[in-house]
């Protein structure tokens, strides 16, 4: 499940070249889906157009689909390169033992998988020569998702967002992410 973050009136971060985060995440999401399909991995987008979608609705839609992986795509400043996140729990208490997971910490039961997956994706992107950081952050709606979940934030340079360059730069990133997912899907017991 690929979530192009933001949308509609929720524009996200302001990027160079007057681009808005919500538009760039949708472009990246479409390209990532194409790259995954080429590698035989089925992928769905959580939104296909510029629409408002609440954080609760995003988590609910993802949980209803029972995906083997949820990826939230972001784009933001400052810096350059890619930041890969796994969800940070804001409390040391885990809902792992609970029969019905708590909404605010639904992720805690699979946070180890999320962390391993974020690490693998970050390593794969680094192999492509892209500056990549591995971080943890308390992000919505990742903490409400029952499946392993990661967020990928692209910090594009102004040159990356020139009309002729955006597709190329975005394709380089999504290709590395798609390769990582294709390589790792077996190791987390996922269906293709």
């Amino acid at each position: 499940m690929i979530d192009p973050s933001h949308g509609g009136e929720e524009v996200g971060a302001a990027l160079p070249a007057k681009m808005q985060e919500k538009d760039l995440t949708l472009t990246l999401a479409r390209e990532l889906r194409r790259q995954l399909e080429e590698r035989g991995v089925h992928a769905r987008l959580l939104r296909e157009a510029d629409i408002d979608l609440s954080l609760e609705r995003r988590a609910e839609a993802a949980n209803q689909e029972h995906p083997w992986l949820y990826i939230a795509l972001h784009a933001g400043l400052p810096g350059k390169g890619v930041r890969v996140y796994w969800p940070a729990m804001t409390s040391q208490q885990s809902s792992q033992a609970a029969m019905i997971p708590r909404w605010e910490s639904a992720q805690s039961a699979v946070s180890g998988k999320s962390r391993a997956f974020a690490n693998a994706v970050a390593n794969q992107i680094r192999k492509g020569g892209v500056s990549t950081s591995l971080l943890t952050a308390p992000l919505r709606p990742l903490n409400n998702v029952l499946a392993p979940a990661i967020a990928i934030e692209w910090a594009p340079s102004p040159a990356d967002l020139k009309p002729a360059q955006t597709d190329k730069a975005g394709a380089g990133l999504t290709s590395a992410v798609a390769s990582a997912i294709a390589q790792l899907r077996g190791s987390i017991g996922a269906r293709p």
């Binding site: 933001h6 929720e10 996200g12 971060a13 302001a14 985060e21 954080l55 972001h74 933001g76 400043l77 400052p78 810096g79 930041r83 996140y85 940070a88 729990m89 804001t90 409390s91 040391q92 605010e104 971080l135 943890t136 952050a137 308390p138 992000l139 919505r140 903490n143 967020a151 934030e153």
Partner: protein, 195 residues
């Protein structure tokens, strides 16, 4: 002998000048009152306390790092008021120019509440969130910097929650979760990624 109609005209003119004068004074006073109301709130000194040398954890956007810095702050003795002034000391660093981590103009802490000895609720003003730059790492640096500085300077605070203008808010500026009670021990681990 001045004709009667000239006398009446002169009297009317004098009366008009008098009324205009009174009205101008009224307008001037109203403008002064409006200007006073629109002016930014003055920073009030804490009711009692002393200058203390404290450490604040500041965010630096240039290299996405958190670094401890020294600050001299007039701090009250009472814990709740002390927590508020500690947080404002961090915001003051971000609101100066040039800023290591710019926030929106007018960002401030409205009030701080102690739910119990270990749990603090911070009520930031609307500008704090409305003017905050959107982005995962920028929002995370702000929260981590504030909570870590609180934990370092207000003993025994274990949980911190943020409100904005008295209301719960889903995210700070579209990314980082603002709904939970953050455990300071967990935030301490997060901060290590940036130190």
């Amino acid at each position: 002998m001045i004709p009667r109609h000239f006398q009446i005209t002169l009297a009317l003119l004098l009366l008009a000048i008098l009324i205009s004068g009174v009205y101008l004074v009224h307008l001037k006073r109203r403008e002064e009152a409006l200007n006073t109301a629109a002016a930014p709130a003055r920073v009030m000194a804490p009711p009692a306390g002393k200058h203390e040398h404290i450490r604040v954890l500041l965010a630096y956007d240039d290299d996405l790092a958190l670094r401890w810095r020294d600050a001299d702050v007039l701090l009250p003795n009472e814990r709740r008021a002390r927590a508020k002034e500690v947080l404002r000391a961090v915001l003051a660093q971000y609101l100066q120019s040039p800023s290591p981590h710019p926030l929106g103009y007018g960002a401030d802490i409205k009030e701080v509440y102690l739910l119990d000895d270990k749990t603090l609720v911070v009520d930031a003003n609307a500008q704090f969130a409305a003017g905050h730059p959107s982005g995962i790492v920028l929002e995370q640096l702000t929260l981590t910097s504030l909570i870590e500085t609180l934990a370092a300077n207000v003993p025994d605070i274990a949980k911190v929650k943020f409100l904005v203008d008295g209301q719960e808010r889903e995210t700070l500026a579209g990314h980082v979760d603002l709904t939970p009670f953050y455990e300071t021990a967990v935030v301490h681990e997060m901060a290590r990624e940036f130190e």
